[in-house]
Each structure stands twice: as structure tokens, then as C-alpha cells.
Symmetry: C2
């Protein structure tokens, strides 16, 4: 399908993509790009990638697929540093959790000999590094592609097939709509958990260490607070508007519940909780 | 240790307590109290309890331990209906997630021939009914006892041994302090999740069904929204003041994060997230 695949950022997502691309024969050669250090060496030793480079200048000739799997803030500036090294007709894509800004800026600076399509596979967990990579990470997961009216239809069909071969269910979405959806289902929960864990840390009840009294539910609930701080900082900054709107809606909804609790409105509370109970059941 | 144990409410907690009391030989006979229906029949058939009653009038003579394992609002009124049927010296306790109001009201109406001590084993999950009961549910879990200056020290020592034999780590706490601690580590997370799931249900982005795009993290995160609505309604109403204060603190903390996002304060955001990351690591 592709001759030479360059993956910038061989972590949980980039590394898993490498493993699966090889497994399904979607690329003849896979090169990793990243900082010097253990990560890329380990990835090469264990066969996740065939080789690696630390600077765009070292990019081998003939790259026909570039996947940017680095933190969202870095995607566009990093992509630009590769432009002069890529084969004509190269397909460029990313895996970032925010799409509108990335797609707009990429399309504004993309030389016409390349194609860019934003992608966001909804998979992963709070682990990181190539050692977190695993086969079939994208199996039965959704992968959202965010084409625009500038997108080349052939390139889109090719990227769609690529993700389908990795087992993903491909969905096309407007980049702005993508960001609004993800703000609610993913970015908002992260804000809530960060705030909760810090509220816990700041609350003093006598000299009791509140952490000692967290039951299993709390641990499940706050697992996502183990995600990388700098990664989430960037996601919030890049998806600022949608996250802020989601957060405002959410704060209003909390204030409503608080009024019901303050006023002892049992029936109204039970109705809210039953609604949530039912909605939760419908989450597949 | 006890001759006749009466458990009002043979569900996840009451049923597990019955299983463990039998396993460790802590009661010669175990009787369940509850509404007519399949639950108590099933509990008797499978040996969770020896027998059951549906009305306090049917209480057998010689009950020396009464455990109230019903929803928090019902604990005190239900306990009162048993007073005329219990053996003198009977130890009465509960397993509710809220303590101050229960302890205060119980102590106000308790005949002097009985002892009451509030208890809260921090164990359980979102399942319910006797079929959810299992052995060793309390093993290595904390059980908070909330004695007051009215508490009989011998009765306290006995209840303490009882929970220790079930494998729990017993902690003594003032009832009010208990409620403040639980408001933050348990009650607050439930409000947040109920509000999040309903925000998700109310948000419209084009005609997209947001539930389709919830990743694994969201499911972990919202698992507690599967808890029973009426149970949590009662907990919030009974622990109104502490939950309301915790919620107010939390809303302030969200508003702070929202300002950082709105103003693009990346460094401040990262600092908050790193703090949460570190605090989360320290949750055992």
C-alpha cells in the first residue's frame, strides 16, 4: 500500500500503528522519527520500526506516508520541517485529538505536491512510550478522518482503506464538529478529574489524609488523571473554544444539582440520577 | 461471638456480611429481613441466610446483633420498629455511607437497654441484591466506626473485633468528620459523573450521537453512574451540607481551570495537571 512509512513520534499510538502496518503488510519499510534516547533504540531492537532518524535532514528518500503522532501543538510545525524531504504525492496525516486548528494550518501551508488528511483514532490509554505499543490497538475502534473541500478524494480513499485494514471503523467528520464532540466525551472528563484530584489534595478535614479513604470506584474514576500533563495542556489550548463551552455547560449542570441538594429536592435529584443511569446503560 | 444476627436488607453489603459472619463463625444463626419477593428466598435457598422475616412482628427472640443494611434514609425509622423485639443488651449497627444524622437520631431514640454504633465499611460496587453478595468483600478494606461520648466501650470493642474478623481495617472517626471525608472522596465523584453523563445526553452537535464516541476511559469514568438512583438521592439529602460544601469548592476549582483555558495559560494548566498526576500516583 505504501513504500516508506515515516512515523514521527513512536509512542503508544505511533508504535502500535507501526506494529499493525507491518502485520498487515501496509508498508515495506517503517522509519521512526524522534529525539535521541532509549525509546527509538528500543523500538528498532524489538522490530517495531526498521530504522530511525533524529533530524528531518536525515529523512531517507521516497517517503510516501508521513504519520505525525506527536503532541498536538507540535504537529504542524514539525510537518513543515519535513516538506523538503518527502516524495512528491506523499500522503501526510496525524493522529491528534484536536483537529480544526491542525487541519486549517496544515492546509494553509501545504505544498500542492502533497496531500494532508487529519485523522484521530479513538484508542489508547494513559500509558506512553514505544513500550506501550501493542498490536490490534485500533481493532474495532473508531477512527475519525476530517477531510475538507480541499481534500483529494483518492488520497482520502487510500487513508480510509489504511485504517480499515488496521481494523478500525472509519468515520468522516468536519474538523470543527470533531472538536466539539471530543470536547464533551474526552477533553471535559479530563478537566473534571484533574480538578477533582486537586480538590481532594487541597481539602483539609482535621488531619485526615483523604487519599486513604478512596474506594475502588475513585481509582477507576481518576485513572485518566495519570495521563501526561503536557499532552493535555496542549489539547486544551488547541481546543480551547469547544472545551470552554463544554465546561460552561457542565458547571451550569453542577450548579443545578447543587441547588437541588441544598433545597432537599429529592424527587428532582432522583429523576436526574435515573436519567444518567439510563444514559450510562446506552453507552456501548 | 453473637447468637442471633438479624440483617435488615440482604443486598450486596448485607448479604456479603452474612456470608462472612458464617464463614468466620461469628453468629450461630442469621436471619434476613426484607420485602417479600425473590431476593430473600434466593438468599435462604443458597444458604446466605438461615431464615427470613418480612415484618418486625415476626422477629424471633434472642436477637443480639441487628445490622441495618438498608438505604440510609430508612435506617433510623426501621431500627425503631425492631426495638420492642430485640434481646436486652442487643448491639445495633448499620453500614450506611452517611453517619452524622443517623448516629444523632439513633442516639436520641435508643432505649438504654441497647447499644448503637454507626459503621461504614468502604467496600462495594454498583451492583445490588443478594446475588451480588460475595465472601471476603471486606477483606483489606477500611471499616469506619463512629462512636460518640455516649458509646458503650465494651460494645465498641466487640463491634471492632467483629469487623476485624471479617478482614477489615477498623478506623474510629467522629460522625461529622466521616461525612466530610466521604463527601469529597465518594459523594462528590457521584455528583460529577451524574452531571457529566447528563451533559453528554443534552449536548447536541449536529445530529451526532455523542455516546458513539466514548472511549474506554469514559466508560471507566462513568461506571459509578450505574449506581441506584434512589440510594444516592438519599445519601445526598442526608449528607446535604458536606456535599454542598464539597461541590462549591469543586465548582470554584473548575472555574479556575476554565479561566486558565480561556486565557491560554499553558504553564499554569500544566502545573495543575502535574499536581493532579502526582496526587493520583499517591492514591493507593
Amino acid at each position: 500500500m505504501f513504500r516508506k512509512l515515516l512515523i514521527a513520534g513512536v509512542g503508544l499510538i505511533g508504535g502500535s500503528l507501526a506494529l499493525d502496518a507491518r502485520k498487515h503488510g501496509l508498508a515495506e519499510e517503517i522509519i521512526g522519527y524522534g529525539r535521541p534516547g532509549k525509546n527509538l533504540k528500543w523500538a528498532k531492537q524489538t522490530g517495531v520500526i526498521d530504522d530511525f532518524i533524529h533530524t528531518p535532514e536525515k529523512t531517507p528518500e521516497g517517503i510516501d506516508l508521513l504519520v505525525l503522532a506527536t503532541p498536538v501543538e507540535t504537529v504542524v510545525p514539525l510537518a513543515r520541517t519535513f516538506f523538503s524531504r518527502l516524495a512528491s504525492g506523499c500522503l501526510i496525516t496525524d493522529v491528534g485529538s484536536v483537529k480544526e486548528k491542525i487541519v486549517r494550518e496544515m492546509e494553509a501551508s501545504l505544498p500542492p505536491r502533497f496531500h494532508f488528511i487529519g485523522a484521530h483514532p479513538i484508542a489508547g490509554n494513559e500509558q506512553w512510550g514505544a513500550q506501550a505499543a501493542r498490536e490490534d490497538l485500533f481493532q474495532n475502534r473508531k477512527c475519525i478522518l476530517t477531510p475538507t473541500n480541499l481534500t483529494d478524494r483518492k488520497a482520502l480513499a487510500k487513508l480510509r482503506r489504511f485504517w480499515q485494514k488496521l481494523g478500525a471503523e472509519v468515520i468522516l467528520m468536519n474538523p470543527k464538529v470533531h472538536d466539539q464532540v471530543l470536547a464533551v466525551v474526552s477533553h471535559l472528563p479530563h478537566v473534571l478529574v484533574y480538578a477533582l484530584v486537586n480538590t481532594l489534595g487541597r481539602t483539609r478535614v482535621d488531619s485526615i489524609d483523604l487519599k486513604e479513604f478512596c474506594a475502588g470506584g475513585f481509582k477507576d474514576f481518576t485513572r485518566i488523571a495519570s495521563s501526561r500533563p503536557e499532552l493535555w495542556r496542549d489539547i486544551f489550548l488547541l481546543n480551547r473554544r469547544a472545551v470552554s463551552k463544554g465546561l460552561a455547560d457542565y458547571i451550569r449542570s453542577l450548579e443545578r444539582l447543587k441547588r437541588m441538594i441544598d433545597n432537599g429536592q429529592g424527587a428532582a435529584l432522583e429523576k436526574e440520577f435515573a436519567l444518567a443511569n439510563e444514559a450510562r446503560r446506552r453507552i456501548s
